[in-house]
């Protein structure tokens, strides 16, 4: 048995209430197809993809509709059989207008996937493997949506010594990764095995927090004998799912500031990504749908749903019963998620949850002066001084913030969560980062 019972963890961090009981036992259900789908051409970090279809053209579910616009870019597939209704600007969840492909679903279609046959990954060279991952449209499904194949492109002098699969899901409310690990343990392990083999990793570790014992058992049972994959347990703590924190927790090593895990010869992937990767290489199915958690006090029928990418949030909410009292809808987790101004935005590849909060459940933190209690310092996994950052940000002293390593901040929100004075620390830091970027852009 490769399961460890003692949980590892990193220093600092916070323990928000988990709120996972709402959905953690609910099996993943399939969301019915919506009438219209909106696919932003840029759902990942990097260059947007180029549309490969024309308005009015019929597309089949799984068909390529967007070609990558460079190496750091992805292929985009249609999540539905239907007709391209429009190509033009639509609202992105972050509020901006971005170029999108809008697809009208064919109500009479059987929604058969246009798959290519399973890929014989074992015979692929590493470069071809990377090309395939790009063609599958795989991005990191934990939230940041970093193109997965870019992570596999190892620079000169680096190798993937350790493969780390992130199953922490430390954000409250979210249980989609949890359900994926329980219900698709085989596929997750299979995906891990594919990547570990292709990258030549010495070992692969799946890190799971101790509040998901069933996931750990399921994964453990799914690991075939004789492989170097193991499941590692972690104490429950936020932000353990941040990859640098996870590496610190599991291996006790710190990724140098401003560097990538690859500098320690580590590649980190999310469990959801592993599932999609296995789907592609075993069944030829690209990333056209994903599991997400719909929960929160404003939802009547919380659920873990398999949702086609591009489904409007409004349809998902209608499906799960959006409460009349809902005052806030959040895409992602409650600590780092994006508040939505409108429900007419699509679910993206990186969307891990949709949460609805009612008036009572929103913490209206009253703001007091910072008393330098130091709670934020004890919360910050990056060992920054958020209190000072906030004070500097208020005074507009960007240069000193840079010297205080504002760039190291991952905006996990632990400081703001813990602040007794209700100072919007992350918000100030985000604004400061934007101002610093702007200043730099102006200078150059």
């Amino acid at each position: 048995m490769s399961l460890q019972v003692m949980g590892k963890t990193f220093r600092h961090g916070v323990h928000p209430e988990e709120h996972k009981e709402q959905t953690e036992q609910l099996p993943i259900q399939r969301m019915p197809f919506a009438d219209r789908f909106v696919l932003p051409l840029s759902q990942h970090l990097g260059a947007p993809c180029k549309p490969a279809v024309n308005v009015g053209q019929r597309v089949q579910r799984g068909q390529v509709v967007g070609e990558p616009g460079g190496f750091v870019s992805m292929t985009l597939h249609s999540p539905v059989t239907g007709r391209v209704a429009a190509i033009g600007p639509r609202r992105h969840p972050n509020g901006s207008l971005v170029p999108c492909i809008e697809i009208e679903a064919d109500p009479y279609s059987t929604q058969e996937i246009a798959t290519s046959p399973a890929v014989d990954w074992e015979s692929l060279s590493l470069d071809d493997f990377i090309l395939h991952v790009q063609k599958a449209g795989l991005v990191g499904m934990g939230g940041a949506a970093f193109p997965t194949h870019v992570k596999y492109k190892l620079p000169e002098g680096r190798r993937c010594q350790r493969l780390l699969i992130n199953g922490c899901e430390c954000e409250p409310y979210l249980t989609c990764d949890h359900r994926v690990m329980v219900e698709y343990a085989q596929a997750v392990v299979r995906g891990t095995q594919i990547v570990a083999t292709k990258l030549g990793a010495d070992s692969a570790t799946i890190g799971v927090e101790l509040n998901k014992p069933d996931a750990m058992l399921a994964l453990d049972a799914a690991i075939p004998a004789g492989t170097n994959i193991r499941v590692a347990s972690l104490k429950v703590k936020y932000p353990q799912g941040a990859e640098k924190m996870l590496i610190k927790a599991l291996f006790g090593e710190e990724v140098p500031a401003g560097k990538l895990p690859l500098d320690l010869n580590i590649v980190v992937n999310n469990v959801g990504t592993m599932l999609s990767l296995a789907d592609y290489f075993d069944h030829g199915k690209p990333l056209i749908e994903r599991v997400l958690t719909v929960a929160g006090p404003g939802i009547d029928r919380p659920a873990n749903l398999m949702v086609p990418v591009g489904t409007p949030v409004r349809d998902v909410m209608r499906h799960c019963g959006l409460n009349e009292e809902t005052r806030q809808v959040v895409m992602g987790g409650p600590m780092m998620g994006q508040p939505l101004a409108s429900l007419d935005v699509p679910v993206l590849k990186g969307t891990s949850g949709l949460l609805a909060f009612t008036d009572e459940s929103i913490s209206h933190a009253e703001e007091y002066a910072c008393v330098r209690c130091g709670q934020c310092l004890e919360a910050c996994g990056n060992f920054l001084n958020p209190s000072r950052m906030a004070r500097l940000a208020r005074a507009g002293r960007w240069e000193e913030m840079e010297n205080a390593h504002v760039a190291d901040c991952v905006e996990c929100g632990a400081c703001t969560y813990t602040c007794p004075s209700g100072v919007p620390i992350v918000h100030l830091i985000r604004a400061a980062k934007a101002a610093i970027r702007q200043g730099k852009a102006k200078a150059s």
């Binding site: 916070v14 928000p16 209430e17 639509r90 609202r91 207008l97 409250p172 640098k244 710190e254 990724v255 140098p256 500031a257 401003g258 005052r327 806030q328 809808v329 959040v330 409650p334 600590m335 780092m336 998620g337 508040p339 939505l340 101004a341 409108s342 429900l343 007419d344 949460l355 909060f357 929103i362 913490s363 933190a365 009253e366 007091y368 002066a369 008393v371 330098r372 209690c373 130091g374 310092l377 910050c380 990056n382 060992f383 920054l384 001084n385 000072r388 205080a404 390593h405 190291d408 632990a414 703001t416 969560y417 813990t418 007794p420 004075s421 209700g422 919007p424 992350v426 918000h427 985000r430």
Partner: protein
């Protein structure tokens, strides 16, 4: 199609809060002070009530009148002014004229806090500023310690409490009125504090008395045992940084211990720890988060600094007690400490370079 849903709020992440607030923290400290207040009332009777009350009124009134926060008085509800008043009251002698106690409260909040913009902006501990102001202004009144009354003399007021402002004199009608209501008034019988005893000749008070508070001294600082218990509870509740009192006490014990080893005439470490305002200062005043370093390493430096200055002043200085000045001096050094003792950022060396 892309219209905004009007009922949706656009508050930024994170959407969860821990639910502990700054007034809550203040309340915690106030509760942690409650046993000391009760002990002060037990030991010193009605005088204690009056002194604590006047200090607090002085502090709160100043906060109300001068605070830049609008609407007027809104900054009182964070509880910090009340806390300052009570802490100041607890480090005053019971026989202090009430008008001075009031003035102390005014100076504490006015000079110590509002000048810098109110809560969280001050650079010196307000209660200590008030106390130091009084000490410098009225050195005799503030070092006139009266022996504690017993419970039977609870109503026995000290005449000096009623001095008319700017004088040390009580009008006859007031004296007659007070005697009519409360019975014969006690005049101050001054009595040296244990520390003054040992400094200016005389023998040490028994440890039992120090521990239980049966000595002369300021209202809140006499009962060592109670302070230790409350301090431990507050430290476990994480109301303040435990490193600060621990490092202060360890430093004082170590430094005075070394001196004591070479010269048995100087007070023993245990005596140093239990006498005077050291425990009270270490637990309730040095730990003021606003004026002490924020990072753990800074807290250690701060505590060691306070401890060393306390020993320096107590053993070689002209004053019997140095806790107040030690904390004020380290308050002044706090920005410098904060500068050199930032936490080591993740993935960096202690100097801030990217770790190899």
């Amino acid at each position: 199609m892309t219209k905004r849903d009007p009922h949706l709020l656009l508050q930024a992440a994170p959407f969860l809060r821990r639910g502990i607030t700054t007034p809550g923290l203040m309340m915690d400290v106030l509760l942690g002070l409650a046993p000391l207040v009760l002990a002060a009332i037990y030991f010193f009777g009605l005088s204690a009530v009056l002194v604590l009350l006047t200090c607090t009124i002085g502090a709160v009134a100043t906060e109300w009148a001068l605070s830049p926060a609008r609407p007027r008085g809104s900054s009182i509800k964070d509880g910090s002014a009340i806390l300052t008043g009570i802490i100041l009251g607890l480090c005053l002698p019971p026989a202090i004229p009430l008008w001075m106690a009031f003035l102390g409260g005014v100076a504490a909040i006015g000079l110590g806090k509002l000048m810098f913009g109110g809560l969280g902006q001050n650079l010196f501990n307000p209660a200590l500023v008030g106390r130091a102001f009084l000490q410098a202004a009225f050195p005799t009144a503030i070092t006139t310690w009266s022996q504690q009354g017993t419970i039977t003399e609870f109503w026995g007021l000290r005449l000096s409490s009623w001095y008319v402002p700017f004088t040390h004199w009580v009008p006859d009608w007031l004296r007659i009125l007070l005697e009519g209501v409360f019975g014969p008034q006690v005049d101050v019988i001054s009595s040296a504090t244990p520390l003054a005893f040992i400094k200016f000749g005389g023998e040490a008070a028994p440890f039992n008395n120090l521990l239980l508070g049966n000595t002369a001294g300021s209202l809140g600082e006499t009962c060592a045992l109670l302070i230790i218990i409350c301090g431990i509870i507050l430290a476990f509740r994480r109301t303040f940084d435990w490193r600060i009192p621990v490092s202060i006490l360890l430093t004082v014990a170590a430094a005075s211990g070394i001196v004591w080893l070479f010269n048995h005439d100087s007070p023993s470490p245990l005596y140093m720890l239990l006498s005077g305002g050291l425990l009270f200062g270490a637990v309730y005043m040095a730990t003021d988060p606003v004026t002490s370093p924020i990072a753990p390493r800074g807290a250690w430096i701060f505590g060691i600094g306070v401890g060393l200055i306390v020993v320096l002043i107590r053993l070689w200085g002209g004053l019997p007690e140095g806790v107040m000045y030690a904390i004020l001096l380290m308050n002044a050094a706090t920005p410098l400490i904060d500068r050199i003792a930032q936490p080591r950022a993740f993935g960096r060396t202690i100097t801030g370079e990217v770790s190899a």
